[in-house]
Amino acid sequence: MTSVRNTLAIAGKELRGYFASPMGYILIGLFALLFGAFFRVYLTGFAEQSQRMAMGGGAGNINVNEYLIRGVMHNVAIIILFVMPLVTMRTYAEEKRSGTMELLLTSPITDLEIIVGKFLGAMGLFAAMLLVTAIDIAILFRLGNPELKPVLTGYLGLLLLGGCFLSVGLFLSSLTKNQIVAGVLTFAVFLMLWIINWFADSVGPTGRVIVGFLSITEHLDDFTKGIIDTKHLVYYLSFITFGLFLTAKSVDSERWRG
């Protein structure tokens, strides 16, 4: 009970921190802008495609979910790659620089409550970002007739994917006092996690399986199809747990080193 209260106190503080400065609004705006750009590209492509099919006299209609929404959601991974380092870079680095870390670590709350609180705060901001993009998707529901389920599971997948990036970003932020260093480091690591499946083909059949499993974005695919596969769910959740675990170890070791 107190544990939940402490975690929420930290989460609330984090979330308020994002919106006390222009940072939160800029991030949401940036995310919405990039999402909108991708959405437009896919929408235009989709419109042309269906026009061509109609002119060809084919009865078949191409699927909105399949072609448009799924395509956009896959590209959200790229947006996350660029935006998430900006979300997480200050989480720990700033507390360490300004000395407020001393306040948190001498308060009757556990490291875990602080870490989970910070994670939830960042997740709150990310959820707000996704919520704004839902406006674009809502237009499709107004004009067309897409299926709801793949949209919902797709968003769940994105939330989990974002959680993975956040947990890694949180860890990297805990390593340094410098926000910029934290941001650049996070970006570099995200980039590696993203491009790792480009090398999947060159490492042989067994290597491909391993690399495919390491790639965070690979696991999003089933979610965008409307399938919640336990395998992927477990993957994402354990990835997040591992990231938070590393953060806990980092904070603890910092404490011993002083």
């Binding site: 930290i10 300004s98 000395g99 306040l103 948190l104 009757p108 404490r255």
Partner: protein, 327 residues
Amino acid sequence: MIEVQHVSKRYGRVTAVDDVSFRVERGEILGFLGPNGAGKTTTMRILTGYMPASEGKAIVAGFDVFASPLEAKRRTGYLPETPPLYPDMTVREYLDFVGRIKGVAPKERKARVVEVMRKTHVHDMADRHCSKLSKGYKQRVGLAQALIHNPEVLILDEPTAGLDPKQIIETRQLIRGLAGSHTIVLSTHILPEVAQTCQRVVIINKGRVVAVDTPENLTNRLTGAETMFIQVDAPAGEAGPALASIPGVTRVVASDSGGTFEVESENGTDIRRELARTVVTRGWGLLELRPMRMSLEEIFLQVTTDETAPEAAAPSSTESTEEAARD
């Protein structure tokens, strides 16, 4: 209330705190005195549970800070060297947040925030952002933060740093007012501060405790001998030998102008009566007789530097030391 037992802290090969032990009784104000880099902050960080000790044990309010950190932290208020403020929050929001994580009950929180703001005189800045505060206000909001959960133990790392003289006096008064209901450890390198606010002093140098006592006892003990300043109206050359012949007197130093003497005696013997009698029975005039004390500053220098100052003592008033220490 606070018990530090053989605490050491090493960073790699560097030993920041070396086998430090001391006790603080309930309601007492303990001054932690030492030059910069002596290990004051490290010791305080160990006491507050910010970092663990490499060796030894620290017990705060009956709880081992390492074994049951949450219980100890619940009873400790801590003002670090730099006040830990969130620049984006207003003073009120900030204190409310600290109240939440320190476990102040939701129903009492609002009242507590108002109370500590009034105590530390920051209520007129309640709705201003922490980033916009002057150094003095930041320091006092830091103090308010340490008080928010009404802790039994207060650990204050240089609470008057960066304040102007008026604020320093106010803050010292506030701290003195908190003693009794709170047990306080405060660190400082300003010596008069210790003499004015603390009941007991721990002097620490290079990570080791070099002295623990009351400011008065330290002054007496560390001089090694008691020195009297005496001015007599006597025929030239007669007073010196007469004073030296008094039992218990170890040394008489005459001033250049003559007529004034510094008379050293064995520790613990009070020679004032004998001095006065000697002078008066010879028909001389006793113009001045007063004990000479080593100022805390001199003691501090004596215990923290390897070579002892050649002069045993020099007359000094509190004002002049205070001025020197503020530089």
